[in-house]
């Protein structure tokens, strides 16, 4: 008989994590999605729910990838992939695009991260490796500027190290910024008490989840 601890629950895959985030985005929100799993979120927002996606390079109302014969070389997203513009969309220059971000006009930004601390600090731009040139892009503006910052990431690193930590060990992107974390195992609100579990994949216990976090996690109230 297999080890029961490994068969009682199934972690979400990348698409499952993106779908879980998409569930919580209501109609009418303006949303910026970071590179990686966050980019997949828009695939799981039903077309009849009007959510407007912003791309830092000056696209408001970004739509899905074009058919191969409909590519416009001048229309890309933050990840430099070809995209489309929805009916009703608009283009702005870079200072206006970052006024949208930094001026608190976005309802939500979803980013990936290496670590989130229980006080809402986020690390997602640098690992501290010395001979690699650092690169930040719009991460610090997005983390500091959006009305809400949600993070979507694996519960642990590939080596099994927890990503939900008491204090960051990687260089911070922004302090006290994260409001919610979605992982392949659970959803957490970041509150004054620290991480509060909102929901978990079926079959997982709070003790098992705690074992995968360095920070103390709290049961839902």
């Amino acid at each position: 008989m297999p080890d029961t601890a490994t068969v009682r629950y199934t972690p979400l895959d990348r698409a499952g994590m993106a779908a879980r985030v998409a569930q919580d985005i209501p109609e009418g929100w303006y949303v910026n999605l970071g590179i990686g799993i966050p980019t997949l979120v828009s695939d799981f927002v039903p077309p009849d729910r009007e959510v407007i996606f912003h791309s830092e390079n000056g696209v408001l109302g970004m739509g899905p990838a074009p058919a191969p014969d409909k590519v416009d070389p001048w229309l890309i997203n933050a990840g430099k992939q070809h995209v489309t513009l929805r009916t009703g969309g608009a283009y702005v220059h870079h200072a206006d695009s970052f006024a949208i971000i930094r001026g608190g006009h976005l309802d939500l930004c979803v980013l990936g991260a290496y670590q989130v601390a229980e006080n809402g600090d986020i690390a997602n731009w640098a690992t501290g490796e010395r001979d690699v040139a650092p690169a930040v892009g719009g991460a610090m503006d997005l983390a500091a500027g959006a009305k809400r910052l949600w993070v979507v990431m694996e519960q642990t690193t590939k080596k099994g190290e927890p990503r939900l930590v008491k204090r960051l060990t990687y260089p911070p992107t922004a302090l006290g910024a994260v409001k919610r974390v979605y992982t392949n195992l659970a959803v957490f609100d970041v509150t004054e008490r620290g991480f509060v579990v909102r929901d978990m994949v079926p079959g997982l216990t709070l003790e098992e989840l705690q074992a995968k976090c360095e920070a103390t996690i709290h049961p839902p109230v």
Binding site: G58, D69, H93, F98, D141
Partner: protein, 226 residues
Amino acid sequence: MINRIVTTMAEALEGITDGATILVGGFGNVGQPRALLEGLIERGVKDLTIVSNNAGSGGEGLAELMAHGRVRKIICSYPRSATSTVFEELYKAGKIELELVPQGTLAERIRAAGAGIGAFYTPTAYGTKLAEGKEVRMIKGRPHVLEYALHADVALIEAWQADRWGNLTYRRSGRNFNPIMAMAAKLTIAQAQHIVELGGLDPEVIVTPGIFVDRVIHVPYGDPPV
């Protein structure tokens, strides 16, 4: 008669000297003024400080300028990409200086220069490595970092349409840094896909009015398929 349209690359780039600080439009390769960068390589100027969102990719445009050893320093937000090998090698060899700036702060520093604003405070980057050594002020209970305007000698930009007064439009996300860079330099040079008669652009759709543009050169790449 005002005519800012020039016909040769030599005229377009006249006056750019060694040691110049040059704003280069574009986000990745989209909106990057490739022909002007090729002209700059041809011109042979060196010891340049380049301000651009990325540090070039592949082997053309900005990457080629760097490969020729003409760039002393780059000010950008995201020098890495799968194909930014030229920059990576120069950086590892200590042959290029990097000033890393958060993308919104980079845009705002350029905008501020064009608007006559000396500096501004922003919450972006507070508490991070990129704010080390910078003045911090509490504004409405939140720490803000002081950032200075980023002026330049030259701006090289890509436009979609232009007229002889230098009025410009852009195409889709090719707009990006181009309009704010046009405003922030002493000498602004645009390459344009299409040249139209004065009066041929709807005043409501002109993004950069000619007051911000010194020279325009016609560089047709061909229209996109859609």
